[in-house]
Symmetry: C3
Subunit: 156 residues, 3 copies
């Protein structure tokens, strides 16, 4: 039955979905490393046990604090979750709804590009409406795929 | 091979999953717009660059604040993520585990209905246990699907 | 066509993916119950309507507060979302990329084990680097699966 399974992965639209889904998920995972980098360089932690290496008692307690740079990365990470989860679910169903390969690639590429721009816009930060527009482009691509999915599958 | 792929999408249970997964994801995406609406009408932002259009310096800085209505929508959004992500994953596996169509529809419809009620209960807000019950119904539906998935697939 | 669908679920790698995906999602869902438990026992709520049963006015208002134990569970829950969402998406694509069954089982088992250890490390809490290491193991497993997915599917 492995042959049957790999028919999925031999389909060009599905291959493209798999590639871009992996890319945006890896990009999202990178936010964990950026958070850790800022927590360590800014010495701003959320858990007492994370500050133990800085000494005991009050000398360590002062590192239990929020930092604007850390909070910025965390907002970017949460925004990724809020937008990449819909892309994963709707994108998978869209890839199974037999779209044209070129149309599908257009959707996936624009979404991935928009989320990468969004991350830079959040972290640099770029002046608005840079971040807002990049967010809206990814959002619109997901809505467009959802429309195709519902048009193909509607079964209430 | 596109024909093979569309066999998935020709399956009634899978069609129903696709429809309800798209619906709950679109509902979750709506929370972003509601958040933006409250941030703008309440003038309560998280990023300095978002307040730049209100002027410079201290006149803009006062809009960098939390607002109870914004925080309420954000809690609802996070609760969606915490509950819709398990539905997406477990629901997909459930749809592939050959359930009865009528049983599957019952699960999907109750889940989607419960999450829509949950959103209204959170945003209006309704007195408890309105929100708590709607949360519990969606949770129980997901557990019921997970039981079917594990009974069908268990391979440790 | 149900027969075609169940070919997916008859594939051993896919069965294993389904089992471990369900397990880590159920584990993540458990965090909601742990949060509710700590909110009730610590009397620390986020919504005014949740404190109504404790009386009216100021007597209820004092329970609208954050509590270190509640916040700790919530951080663990968010960390689950940030790490289990990539596992679900990348793991599904990995399961469809025809890996060796033994290699796939190794990935799924280590990921699930690491996330369970991570939860205990967060909630007890264990001294660092306990939580950090368990997080890194799950992260590395996901990267390893993403590498296999991109090597198999790359279609930009």
């Amino acid at each position: 039955e492995m042959a049957k399974l790999t028919q999925l992965i031999d389909n060009d639209v599905f291959l493209a979905y798999a590639t871009y889904a992996a890319i945006v998920l890896l990009k999202m995972m990178l936010m964990s490393l950026v958070t850790a980098y800022f927590r360590i360089t800014r010495k701003a932690f959320a858990n007492p046990e994370d500050t133990a290496s800085f000494g005991k008692g009050d000398s360590a307690k002062k590192y239990l604090r929020t930092d604007p740079d850390v909070e910025r990365v965390r907002r970017g990470h949460l925004n990724d979750l809020e937008n990449i989860v819909p892309f994963l679910g709707i994108g998978l169903l869209y890839a199974l709804s037999a779209p044209e390969l070129s149309t599908a690639l257009l959707h996936f590429r624009i979404f991935a590009g928009a989320r990468i721009v969004h991350t830079f816009a959040y972290l640099i930060p770029l002046p608005q409406p840079g971040r807002g527009l990049s967010w809206a482009v990814g959002y619109a691509v997901t809505i467009s795929m959802a429309y195709k999915v519902l048009k193909t599958t509607l079964y209430l």
